[in-house]
Every structure is written in C-alpha cells, then in structure tokens.
C-alpha cells in the first residue's frame, strides 16, 4: 500500500471538470500542494468526500479548500476568490465586496477580520445542507 506511486493529475479528474474548486481540492489533498496526487492522497480525498465521512472532518477539509492562500485563515481575499469562482465572475466588484463583508460580519466570531477554523466550523456545522452537498460519488 502506498508504495506504488501512481501519480494522479487533475486532468484525470475529468469527471469533476465542472467543480469551481477542483484545483483547490487537488491541491489540498496532494502532498506537496501542487495538485498531483499519489494513490494515498487520492484515497484520502475520497475518504473525506465520501458520504460516510463525519461532519467535523468534512468541515476541516472544507476550510482548507476555501483557504486559498493556505495561511490558516479565510481572509477577505479568499472569500473574494470563492465568490468569483462560484458566480463565474458575474457579480460586480461592489457586489463581491459587499458579499464578503457580510460573510465576515456574520461568521467572524472574534472580529479579527478573517475566519479562523473555529469560526468556520461554528458556522458550517449549523448549515442545513452542508453535509448533503459536500461529497463526491464515484
């Protein structure tokens, strides 16, 4: 196990071409963060994205996926990236910044202007459809 270093690139994840976060997913689960996965990384990914995975685990990796600059916090820039990806850039800059501001306002528990993992979990665990949407079927 794990000694066959089969390399997965995100070209091979063709089925998920439509996911706006596909690159992020590949990066988060790959060992060196460049989006190339070993078999173990791949298995990791599907163990997290499987239907059986628990909330906490999913929330943890969701946080990592949305943390675009890997600094351990979801800051305004990360939020902007998320919105832009989700809407394919159809919102104007004003609207994007309004949305980001509101998100920070809602979920930032300690008012440091960015979302820590705790803030994120606090928020996401109340979301009604997080569990039902954050998984991948193969």
């Amino acid at each position: 196990m794990g000694n066959k270093q089969t390399v997965f690139t995100h070209e091979q994840l063709e089925a998920y071409q439509d996911n706006p976060f596909r690159q992020r997913i590949a990066q988060v689960f790959s060992e060196d963060g460049d989006g190339h996965m070993t078999l173990d990384n791949f298995l990791d990914m599907f163990s997290v994205m499987s239907e059986m995975a628990p909330r906490d685990l999913k929330a943890y990796y969701a946080f990592k996926i949305y943390d675009f600059n890997n600094d351990g916090y979801i800051c305004a820039w990360d939020l902007e990236q998320t919105v832009t990806k989700l809407t394919r850039g159809e919102l104007s800059a004003e609207e994007v910044s309004l949305v980001c501001e509101r998100v920070l306002d809602e979920a930032d528990g300690d008012h440091d202007g960015r979302l820590s993992l705790e803030d994120f979990q606090n928020m996401i665990l109340r979301a009604p459809d997080f569990l039902s949407t954050f998984h991948i079927r193969i």
Binding site: M1, G2, A15, Y16, Q17, D18, N19, F21, D40, N41, L43, D44, S47, V48, M49, E51, M52, A53, P54, D56, L57, Y60, Y61, A62, F63, Y66, G72, L79, T82, V83, L86, T87, R88, E90, L91, E95, L98, V99, R102, E106, A107, G109, D110, D112, S116, L117, E118, F120, Q121, M123, I124, R126, A127, P128, F130, T133, F134, H135, I136, R137
Partner: protein, 890 residues
C-alpha cells in the same frame, strides 16, 4: 515521530484534566506501576504478548499493567506501548503540541462513564494483586472496546491514509489478541457485517431519495427556471404544480363518483328528454361553432348538471347518484378548504424552524451552495446561474434593509400612488357596471351583433390586460422592496378581478332569476303538450300510443346547465386569452427584438421594447381566479374540473417553455418569501367567495323541474332528507333531526368560538415565548462573540507575561506530581516556543524540561487554557479542536 508525540500529548491532556482519576493512578502507582516498569520496557521492544496470564501472577501483571496504562490514556495509544518509556521521559518536557485533541475530547467522553466506578476498584487492585481480577478484566475489556471504537471512528480523523492504515492495523491486532483472552473473538466479523449493512442502508436510502425526487413532476423544469429567473418566478410554477395536484384530486372525486357511474349505469343518451338534444337544435347540434359554445351535444352530455337523472338509484349497484352528486359537490369544497388550510399551516411551521439560517445567509450561500455532486456540465451551468441569482437576491434584500431615504417624500408618493390606484379601481368598477347594464338591454333585443353579445367579456379581458401594467407603473412611485411591491400589486389586481367576478356573478344571478320566473309557464306548457299528445283524437284508442319522442318534449331552460356553460366558456376563453397573450406579448416580442435588432436604428434589446419580464402577479392571480371559477362552476358542470386539469397541464409546459424562451429575469431579482402563504391566503379568500354563491343557489333556489339529479325536489339539499328517511333506520333519522335543532347548533357554534379563542391565545403565547427564546439566543451569541474577542486580545498580552509568571510560581510547582498538569502547558506556551519543531524539542528534552514545567503551572487559575495562545498556534486544526474540547460550558 509525530504519532508518538501525539500520544504523549494526549496522555498529558487526559491526566491534566482529571484530577480524581489522577489521584487514583497515583495511589496505584506506588504499588503497581513502578514495579511494572521492567515489563513496560520489555514491551517497548515489541508487540505485547498475550502469553498465558493465568499461569504466573508476575508475568500476568507485567502484561496487563501497561495495558491498563494505555487503556486509561486512549485507544489510540495502543501502538504507543513500545515507546512508553520515551514518552514518560518526555512527558516532563511537555513540549509536544497535542495533535488530536479533538479525539481526546471525544474519547474523554467515552471514558467518563466507566470512570465513575473506577477509582475504588483501582485502589483495591493496588492492595490485593489479584491476577486477572475483575477490574483488570474490565480494563482490558474497556481497552478492547476502545480499540474497536477507534476502528469504528477511524474515518473521523484527519490523518493521511498511511497513518490511518497503520493505526487501524495495530488496533485490529490488539483487538484480535485480547479478545481471545476475554473469550470473544467475533468482533471483527460483526463489525464488518455491521459496516456492510450500514453501507447498504445508506445506498438504499440514497436510491430511494433519488426515486422520490424523480417522482416529483416537473422538478427539473422548475429547478431550471429557478436557477435562471430566481425563486420568485419559480414560486409561481410551484404554485401551479400544487394547484395541478389539488385539481387532480378534485377531478378524481368528481370523475370517479359522478361521471363514470352515470355513464356506465345511468339511462343511456336519448332515452329521456333531458338526455336528448331538442328537435329544434338537432340540425346544428354537431356544428363546431355550436360545440365551441358548449351547446348542442356537449350541452346534453354528462359534463353538465342537466344531463343527470333524478332516479334515486341507478344500475345493479343501486348507486344513489343524486346523493353522490350532492355529497361530491360538498366534498369538493371541503377538500379544497382542508388542503389550503393545511398547506398554509405547514408553511408556517416550516418558517418557524429556520431561525438559524437568518444569521448566516451569506455564509451559507458562499460555503454550502455548491453541490459537489454535480458532474454534468449542464447542471453545473444551472448551478452557477442559480448561485449568482441567489446572491443577487440576497444583495437586494441587504441593500433594501440598509437604504435610507426621504421618508416624507416616500410617504407622499405612496399616498399618491394609492389614490391613483383607487381611482383606477373605481373607474374600472363603473365601467363594468355600465357594460353589464347595457348587456342586459342587449339581451332583450333580438338581433345583436357579435360585439354586443360579447361586450362584457371583451371589456373585462381588456381591463385585465391593461390595468395590471398600469398599476405596476403607478407602483413604481412607491419604491417598495420588490417582494413587498409584489404583494401590493397582487392585492390591487385582486381587487380589480374581484369586481369583475362579482359583476359577472350578479349578471348571472339576474339571468337565473329570469329563467326561474319563466319556469312555471314552461312547466304548464310541457304538461299541456304531453296531455294533449296522449289524449288527442285521431288515434286508434285500443293500441296505446308510443311515447312521445324525447326530442319533441318541450322543456325548461335548466338554469343550472346555463350557469355551468357560462363557467365553462369563461374558463376556456380565459385560457385562450392567456395563451395568446403569451404568444403575442412575449414570444413574438422576443422574436421581434431578437431578429430585428440586426437592422434597427437603436438597440432593441437594451432599449425600448426589450424582452418581457415574467409577470408573476398577473399569472398568480390568473391562476387563483381560474380556480375560483372552477370551484363555483364544478357543481353545475362536473366536467369543468377535467377541462381545468388539461388547462393546467398544458399551461405548465407552455409557460415553462415561454419563460425559458422569451422572458428575461427581473431586473431586481428578489427572493420569494419562503412560504407562499400570501398566494394561499388569496386562494383561501377566493375559495370562500366562490363558496358563497354556490351555497346560496343550493340553499335558496329551487332546482329546475325537468333536469338534473334534484329535479322535482323543492330544494337541492332535500336529497339528504330523503336519504335519511328512506335508507337509514328511523332512530337515526330522529337523531339527525335532533342534531339539526337550533338549540343544539347555537351552543355548538359558541363552543367552537371558545375553542378557537383558546387555541389562538395559546398559539400567541407560544409564539411570544419563541420570540423571546430567539432573542435570548441572539443575546448569548453576541455576548459570546464579544467575550471571545476580548479574550483574543487579552491572550496575546498574557502569553507575553507567561514567562514571568512561570518563574514566580516555580516553587509552587515543584510540589505537584510530575505529569499531572502537563497538557495545559503545551497550549500555554509562548508562540516562539511553539514554533519550535517538535522533534528538536523532544531531543532537547533534558534542557527544556524545567522551563516547561514551570510554564505548566504558570497558568493562573482564572485563565482557561483555551485562551489566546492556542489561537496563535501554527496549526489551526489542533488549536481549534483543542479549544472546543476544553471550553467549559458557559
């Protein structure tokens, strides 16, 4: 390495937080633990040997002791035995950041229960060193249980796969080995079986859910529309679908209990006068123009009231058709009332539960709206559109709530707008009145033109076409939020349509009364004709005359059928007007704008004509009023519901197509109110309004003498009396008579009022309590937020002070037993120390030991270990989970 460190951290964590347990361990430590030290060393070399514990006490002790130790810490540490000594040494260091505090917290919880009875048993084991005594057995058992739990919860851990595999294998080995000792080894298989069942169950549930979703008609169409046009447009289509469902049920009722029995078992067409086309109409009865007006053969068919015979029972089933007809008419209203009220109630219930999501509107949209299951590019496009739409909707809401403006101006404009609209309503009311009066004059004249005949309908259609846009223009003055604006618009158009409806009804009533007054003469004529026919001379007296052909019998005008025909016509013309409006107003306009744009002098798409927006208010009200027509007409035209079902079905497809092909989304998209209770409320009002005329005609007008199931009776509801008298035993009749006594009914009504009052006040007080609780939660959250932010600020200052405190408290610390409070220290380090690589810290254990021990005690009692420093740790997962594990309940 990291694995070992984690284990260590855990142990520290555990012992640090459970003093009672710790003391017990200490008590035991003197007798057992120190003595077992060699055994531990032995174990450090390899895997624990099960051996034969029963043979020698010492050996048994050696094996079991480390187990107990491990068991106490956590199941994860099963693999940790071989590093025990190392771990013990570095415990003092207390350098290792706890890797999976989350796990600890969870496991701590599992530990809590068995722990309660632990300390005494441990003490006893310390005194009497019984091999495999009850306690030890229990301890192994617990440990095995823990390993099993670890296996079960393996997937909860954010570890890389290799580590998971290793841990899993170790835990499984452990379980296999020691389950043998305890005499049960089928855990693995049972576990595998359970997992299999769980998996199958999940799959089954998923398939079943998919199946259920597929069973919802037009779900994909509506989702499609929702993603492009927003939830407000989709709410119309959902309403349409709901309406279709209701109408299907009504159709089933009427069709199954009235029309089919009549067709199957009633006397066939042409056998009696009411089932035959009169001689005068026979020639034209099959012409399309006649049929189109629901005259001719259609008029004398089971679609209308007049066709039904007043025979008490029909067919070999002795089916009581008149009774069934009456009961179905009543139950159509009963069912509609029930279903409308029930769906209103369920909508209200749904609204109460989701107070949470109001706090995180944007966050939820941002982080949970993408469905990772989407693997189809078309669906993905829709999803992108719908996310953008929903963001826009929320932004409009947001902007609307923050808007500040000149209140006086707005107020003035709103009053002005309302004034203008009231003027419009009065004007249109007068116009209708005028036209109706004129039409009554026309009806007395002989040859009137097509326009004069249809003037009322034309005027009403024109009003319906032009007033709503006018209202909308005026409503632009008011500057409401679009959702509120939609409600106003709905209310105004409702008032307009209501006027139309009631003038229509009044005209109809006049007609009915006219026909009723003529009825007596027609009755006489009929009798006279029949009498003359049978008694006329010039026929051979010995042979009985063949009965008069039913087509030749003179008959009354049958006002019920006339009313039914009116409603039928109105429904059909309404449908046609709607479709033509869509075709001309939306589709042709869209085509024109789209294709003429190439050769036009200004930009048609962005400029004047542009594409049409979907008119939610008009369509919703059209639907509601149409339904009112159905309710009113269905008693006199049982086939009306069937036509309506067809209409709804076609308009579902047609409008879906029209929206997607030729409409553009609203400029300011807005979210539909979660429950479409406003629509339902209007529907309920219309239902009530349409119940009134039907009830009036049933209760106070005599049925026609020669058509319909109630002919020959004084009133339609006499059919119930008749049934009770003839078909029920006499005492039941008496009971019914007694129940109908006003002396009983009035108290019953009073009682109902009291009950309503009581329930109403209860629900009010409940909702008040609900609101208060919500407020409390809100306040708590605010407090928590501010608390956290204060703590966050304070903690940074604190961590700088820690070193000082540490040195001050050093002496105090020496007294504490080693390894008792190691864990808080690991969190309470200064950021600089934390940044150190765990590896180097463990290697430098000797040197850093005293300092860190000081640190561990440096914790002032008032400060919780979950304060600042944890936050500033480099690894967010650990810090956050640690916090959640440690946070005391506020």
């Amino acid at each position: 390495m990291s694995h070992r460190l984690k284990g260590r951290g855990e142990e520290g964590d555990r012992s640090g937080r459970r003093p009672s347990r710790k003391q017990a361990a200490r008590a035991e430590g003197a007798a057992g633990r120190r003595g077992a030290q060699p055994g531990q060393k032995e174990q450090a070399g390899g895997s624990p040997r099960p051996g034969s514990p029963r043979r020698k006490q010492a050996e048994c002790r050696r094996h079991l002791e480390p187990l107990g130790e491990q068991g106490r810490s956590s199941a994860e540490r099963t693999s940790k035995g071989r590093r025990k000594r190392d771990g013990r040494a570095s415990l003092k260091k207390q350098r290792a950041p706890p890797k999976t505090e989350k796990e600890v917290s969870r496991q701590e919880e599992m530990w809590k229960r068995p722990k309660k009875h632990r300390p005494p048993s441990l003490a006893s084991s310390a005194s009497g060193a019984e091999c495999l005594s009850e306690e030890e057995r229990a301890r192994i058992l617990e440990q095995v249980e823990d390993s099993k739990k670890l296996i079960a919860t393996m997937r909860n851990k954010p570890w890389p796969m290799t580590k998971k595999l290793r841990e899993l294998r170790e835990a499984q080995e452990f379980v296999e080995k020691y389950e043998g000792v305890l005499g049960k080894g089928k855990g693995k298989r049972l576990y595998a079986y359970r997992m299999l069942v769980a998996k199958k169950w999940v799959k089954f549930k998923r398939d079943f859910d998919n199946f259920k979703t597929q069973c919802i008609p037009w779900e994909m169409k509506i989702k499609d529309i929702e993603s492009h046009f927003g939830s407000s447009v989709a709410s119309y289509f959902i309403f349409l679908r709901w309406m279709y469902g209701v109408n299907l049920v009504l159709f089933g009722l009427i069709f199954g209990l009235v029309i089919i029995p009549e067709v199957l078992m009633g006397v066939p067409y042409g056998s009696i006068p009411r089932k035959t086309v009169p001689r005068a109409e026979e020639e034209k009865a099959m012409d399309f123009s006649v049929l189109w007006d629901f005259e001719g053969y259609i008029k004398y068919s089971a679609l209308f009231y007049g066709y039904y015979n007043n025979q008490r029972t029909i067919g070999w089933l002795r089916y009581r058709l008149p009774m069934a007809y009456f009961m179905v008419g009543v139950s159509v209203f009963g069912y509609s009332l029930m279903i409308v009220i029930r769906s209103m109630a369920s909508n209200t219930q749904g609204r109460a539960s989701d107070g949470e999501s109001a706090n995180f509107t944007f966050s939820f949209k941002m982080f949970t709206s993408w469905d990772y299951l989407i693997g189809n590019s078309e669906t993905a496009d829709n999803k992108y559109a719908s996310i953008t739409t929903s963001f826009k909707e929320s932004i409009v809401d947001e902007q609307e709530s923050n808007k500040e403006e000149n209140i006086h101006l707005t107020r003035f404009l709103r009053v002005l707008a309302n004034f203008l609209i009231i003027c419009c309503l009065c004007g249109s009311g007068y116009l209708i009145y005028f036209v109706v009066k004129r039409s009554q004059e026309f009806s007395k004249m002989q040859n009137v033109s097509w326009y004069e005949r249809n003037e009322v309908e034309i005027v009403m259609s024109l009003l319906g076409m032009f007033c709503p846009p006018l209202f909308e223009t005026i409503a632009a003055l008011e500057n409401y939020h679009p959702r509120v604006g939609l409600k106003w618009q709905l209310g105004r158009i409702f008032a307009l349509f209501l006027g139309n409806l009631y003038t229509f009804l009044l005209a109809l009533m006049d007609d009915v009364h006219l026909k009723l007054s003529n009825e007596e003469t027609i009755k006489n004529i009929t009798h006279w004709t029949l009498f003359n026919y049978y008694n006329s001379s010039g026929w051979n007296e010995s042979v009985p005359r063949p009965p008069l052909h039913p087509a030749d019998v003179p008959r009354g005008s049958c006002w019920e059928t006339a009313v039914g025909i009116e409603f039928m016509r109105l429904t059909v013309s309404d449908m046609l007007v709607t479709y033509i409006t869509i075709l001309l107003g939306d589709f042709l306009r869209a085509c024109f704008v789209r294709f003429m744009n190439y050769c036009w002098c200004w930009d048609l798409e962005a400029g004047f004509p542009s594409y049409a927006e979907f008119d939610i208010s008009g369509n919703v009200l059209g639907l509601i009023f149409n339904q009112g027509m159905i309710w009113m007409g269905s008693f006199y035209a049982p086939g009306l519901v069937g036509i309506n079902v067809l209409r709804l079905l076609t308009s579902m497809y047609f409008q879906c197509w029209a929206v997607m092909s030729s409409n553009v989304p609203h400029e300011r998209m807005f979210k539909a109110s979660r429950s479409n209770n406003f629509y339902m409320g209007l529907l309920l009002l219309v239902l009530f309004l349409s119940l009134l005329p039907v009830a009036y005609t049933i209760m106070s007008l005599p049925p026609s003498f020669d058509c319909g199931p109630f002919s020959g009776k004084n009133r339609m509801y006499d059919v119930i009396h008749e049934t009770i008298e003839n078909d029920f035993p006499t005492f039941l009749g008496k009971i019914f008579a007694f129940l109908a006594n006003p002396g009983l009914i009035i108290p019953a009504i009073l009682l109902m009022f009291l009950a309503i009052y009581y329930l109403n006040s209860v629900s009010k007080s409940l909702s008040r309590a609900n609101a208060q609780l919500r407020k409390k939660i809100q306040a708590l959250r605010v407090v928590e937020k501010s608390h956290k932010s204060v703590k966050g600020r304070r903690s940074t200052a604190e961590s700088e002070d820690t070193a000082k405190d540490a040195s001050q408290n050093a002496t105090q610390l020496q007294l504490t037993e080693e390894g008792t409070t190691p864990h808080p220290a690991s969190q309470n380090q200064t950021p600089g120390k934390k940044a150190q690589d765990p590896g180097t810290s463990s290697s430098a254990s000797g040197t850093t030991l005293p300092a860190s021990r000081h640190l561990s005690g440096a914790q002032p009692p008032g400060v919780r270990p979950d304060s600042g420093p944890a936050r500033s740790q480099t690894h967010p997962w650990r810090s956050a989970s640690g916090k959640s594990a440690l946070r005391p309940p506020h």
